[in-house]
Symmetry: C2
């Protein structure tokens, strides 16, 4: 089961364009900690308020931040402040035989959660700690624990990616040995790495007509290349 | 142990700027499968050869691709072809209380490898399969297996990130309750999430002088905020 959720490439393009800008990343970093007023962002990031407003407008348009109005302390007019919104991971994997960009939601999953039941219980316990200083110390320890687990997963993932890159190197060499034409090789690279073998998906990804793909798959089947039997 | 390797932010900035360009990503995708000649890239991606050469130059400068010269089939002059080089993962995690960008190397790790010994053995077995068609089928199955494992790790990571975001939400609320000033809050957010508590690291990350940080830490210690005792 391929659980990754790939966003339409246009979404991915947009997200990378938005996040490429260092000032926008610094704004998001600030807002992820606490709400900020535009003036405050301008002062902290040493960027003109006009530029800040322009960035906030883009971030709001793509729903990465949202605007809230807050009453002023001194009973003055309402003030606009901004907080982050949305959640996702964007991952780019780059190795000599591999280049993948994917987005996936960053949400808790019931099925996965069972494995991390101890964390869930610990989190609930933390909420019941009355003293806010004590709660903060304990939450901090809890976050460090989660960070270690996340690092472990990252090291495992990096190892598997290294293995996959080696396997792809072998596979690409084997594809070359077969002496097929360019589009046939493209189809083989696709089939090697993708679980979704529906004609519609292949056609979209490779920008080739379904009829052309069906014929290539038939030839692969006849020659027992990747596919066993006549498709 | 915080195993992540964070590149200097200037490197990260550069990498995001390079990868933000959709044509460059398409070039890298192509080259990660097999070597290409500039003319071939231009034809396949329907982009002028001049633009392709410009992108390849940038990619070569940042060592994401390298150029090889190959003898022409027809005994003509040597031709330049390009392949991908380098390896890393670039990960952006975005959630309402969290915004992290990190790069880490994508390499096999001996310590981690022990856990995936079955994959390593399987990979060695695959190399000994003589028939190239059979080898390709088996490598493909092997890659699907690794993909499933990588997806599982991704789902686990996403779950933990969801948990972490919830914990950070609690922590940020607790920080607000303490009523400290802006830079003190910045330091608290840093301490909550970072294992590296050396003055030099904090000073660099928060762009504050070590003296200022030392004084804040002293106050936190005195008030038992995150730090127990007088530092």
């Amino acid at each position: 089961m391929h659980r990754c959720i790939e966003m339409a490439s246009s979404n991915l393009d947009q997200m990378l364009t938005i996040l490429e800008n260092p000032t926008r990343r610094r704004i998001l970093q600030k807002l992820s900690r606490e709400r900020h007023y535009p003036l405050q962002l301008s002062r902290e990031l040493k960027v003109s308020q006009q530029a800040i407003m322009k960035h906030l407008k883009v971030l709001e348009e793509y729903r990465l931040v949202k605007c809230r109005t807050e009453k002023s302390d001194a009973g003055g007019p309402e003030r606009k402040c901004y907080v982050t919104d949305h959640q996702f991971s964007l991952i780019i994997d780059f190795a000599p035989n591999m280049f993948n960009v994917e987005m996936r939601p960053l949400t808790k999953d019931k099925e996965v959660g069972r494995e991390y039941d101890k964390f869930e219980k610990e989190r609930r316990r933390l909420l019941s700690v009355r003293d806010s200083k004590k709660r903060l110390r304990e939450i901090s320890r809890f976050i460090q624990e989660i960070n270690e687990e996340i690092d472990d997963l990252g090291a495992k993932r990096a190892h598997l990616m290294g293995l996959k890159d080696e396997a792809l190197e072998e596979a690409h060499a084997a594809v070359e040995e077969l002496g097929r034409d360019y589009n046939e090789r493209r189809l083989l690279y696709y089939l090697l790495d993708e679980a979704d073998r529906s004609l519609a998906s292949i056609s979209e990804k490779l920008d080739l007509r379904e009829k052309v793909i069906r014929e290539m798959l038939k030839r692969f089947g006849e020659n027992r290349i990747l596919i066993e039997g006549g498709e």
